[in-house]
Amino acid sequence: MSSAALLEVEDLTLHRGGNRILDHVTLSLAPGETLALVGESGAGKSTIATALMGLLGPKDARIEGHARLEGQGELLGMPERRWSKLRGRRLSMIFQDAGSALNPCFTVGRQLVTVLRRNLGLSRTAARARALELFERVGINDAEARLSAYPHQLSGGMQQRVMVAIALACNPDLLFADEPTSALDVTIQAQIIRLILDETRTRGASCIFVLHDLALASQSCDRIVVLYAGQVVESGVTAEILEAPRHPYTAQLKSCVLEIGTRDLDPPEGSVGSYAAMPKGCRFARRCPRALPRCAEERPPLVPAPDGDRALACWNPL
């Protein structure tokens, strides 16, 4: 899929405050595909998204590696001027907390109209008509009236719908959704995930979800990338990975997921620990039940598996 890829990330490494937050992250995404970045807090999932949105300046972090967007070329190292042309038009993002991502001083309609006018150069009336249409599309009832509502007058679910409308306003090729539903109730969560999936699918856009919920990832994404402490440990087609995880961490993560009727959980001991004290090799080695002596010393490369479309970084896979 290398030639047809929409986005190709190769050895993305990110240092912040002397710590290596991302360590040679490699992933690729085909047009129209949905990908989930999964892992526990501190795994670097959101950092990948913010780095690929160009939201981390040289003052925030030192970024190395490559990220190529189809038709655009290398993203990393671009000046802010070019990033800002890309954001909103080809790349856009939905944040976890829509309530604080929306500007409380302006009506949601005005925020959407501003985006439409700036990025698509629409006239005021055309932008307003388009905004109304978008609101209706994302399932906002009484869209006309809601356009002149302020964010705080809307429920969390409605705010997230507005965010989706703004993010999709200019038909981006790639949408990042950073835990878009973790602040919402479960019934609303199902609504929003479906909305994002439906909307990206009809536009042929790709979507990268950042999720901590493996079950939700399995329901919503074609492919997953499992991260541990800034390293990709396993990636591939969701169903294949979850059917038969080969990395011990993926297996553990899956075993911790609580479903209705789960009787016993067997969580791994301890926690991720400090970035300052990571082993040289595989960062999971310290907690891995299958760790070999070489695991802590030598970093296992992310190698494509011969069987099927997946990649694995482990010296002693299941």
């Binding site: 009787r263 016993d264 067997d266 301890g270 926690s271 400090s274 970035y275 300052a276 004290a277």
Partner: protein, 297 residues
């Protein structure tokens, strides 16, 4: 279900970087803070050891050396009575620091009592107290201090009380704001849920969480108190001559600015440097120890 019992493990200590012990030295991280601290210590040292450090008696007048410019005999020159300015500045540090500290403590104590009362009582008590404080705050503290001096009379002790009283308002306001903020914290509700008596909750949970920010406020406001007390002296209604007070010295030099500028400039510089040092010190302490500014926790 036997497996359930043996898997519950302690999570190991998280990033050591968050612990207080492993942070790099405060002095290395904050060079300006360190300089300010050293400068303040120099002033304190001068105040404490004034009789040994000062080259001359601060009130010894000398007819041969009136308005002598800075030179080898009198490093910072002399004033119109021939008194050595350096010695007067060194002794003046005593007055500045003692007046500053004592008056701030008076202000903080008064502010703590009123602020706590207002913040905890609520209802009309709070309303009445806050309206009084609002009306006090409507006037600058210097004007308030002048008013108190007018009632109390002059002298070092009167200045301390006057400046202290003038600072109660701002202190009371910040204490009340802190009380209001602490009062709604979950740990207060948790204590209430444990049926811990109200006074114990106040003593154990409200007070410590209010006193600490207050202590930070004290360090910040010392410089304000010194400035107000010096201003009183400058206006001629604070301490009385020949006390070596900086404000007084600046005032005395005022008439000679054209031909003996050092008379006002030197104590002015001493005052300015101390105020700057204290401000940096206060800000540093606040940023270092105030959990609200530290973020995270």
């Amino acid at each position: 279900m036997a497996a359930v019992t043996d898997m519950d493990s302690p999570t190991p200590a998280p990033a050591a970087a968050t612990g207080p012990g492993r942070r790099s030295s405060l002095f290395l991280r904050r060079p300006f803070f360190t300089i300010a601290l050293l400068a303040t210590l120099a002033y304190v040292g001068a105040a404490v050891f004034a009789p040994w450090v000062a080259p001359y008696d601060p009130v010894q007048q000398s007819i041969d050396a009136m308005m002598a410019p800075p030179g080898p005999a009198h490093w910072l020159g002399t004033d119109s009575y021939g008194q050595d300015i350096l010695s007067r500045i060194i002794y003046g540090a005593r007055y500045a620091l003692v007046i500053g500290l004592c008056s701030v403590l008076i202000g903080a104590a008064g502010g703590l009592v009123i602020g706590l009362a207002a913040g905890l009582a609520g209802g009309w008590v709070e309303w009445a107290l806050m309206r009084v404080i609002d009306s006090i705050l409507a006037l600058p503290s210097l004007i308030m201090a002048v008013a108190f001096i007018a009632i109390l009379g002059q002298g070092v002790d009167k200045v301390v009380i006057a400046v202290g009283l003038s600072m109660i308002g701002p202190f009371a306001r910040t204490v009340r704001a802190d009380v209001m903020q602490v009062r709604v914290q979950l740990y207060i509700e948790a204590a209430r849920l444990m049926s811990i008596p109200r006074w114990q909750v106040i003593a154990r949970h409200v007070l410590p969480n209010v006193v600490f920010p207050l202590a930070v406020q004290v360090t910040i406001r010392i410089s304000e108190a010194i400035l107000v007390s010096s201003s009183l002296s400058f206006l001629g209604i604070g301490v009385t001559p020949p006390t070596p007070d900086w404000g007084l010295m600046i005032a005395e030099g005022r008439g000679f600015v054209a031909f003996a500028p050092w008379m006002s400039a030197m104590p002015g510089l001493a005052l300015a440097l101390l105020l700057i040092a204290l401000s940096i010190l206060g800000d540093g302490i606040r940023e270092e120890y105030d959990p609200k500014l530290r973020g995270g926790s």
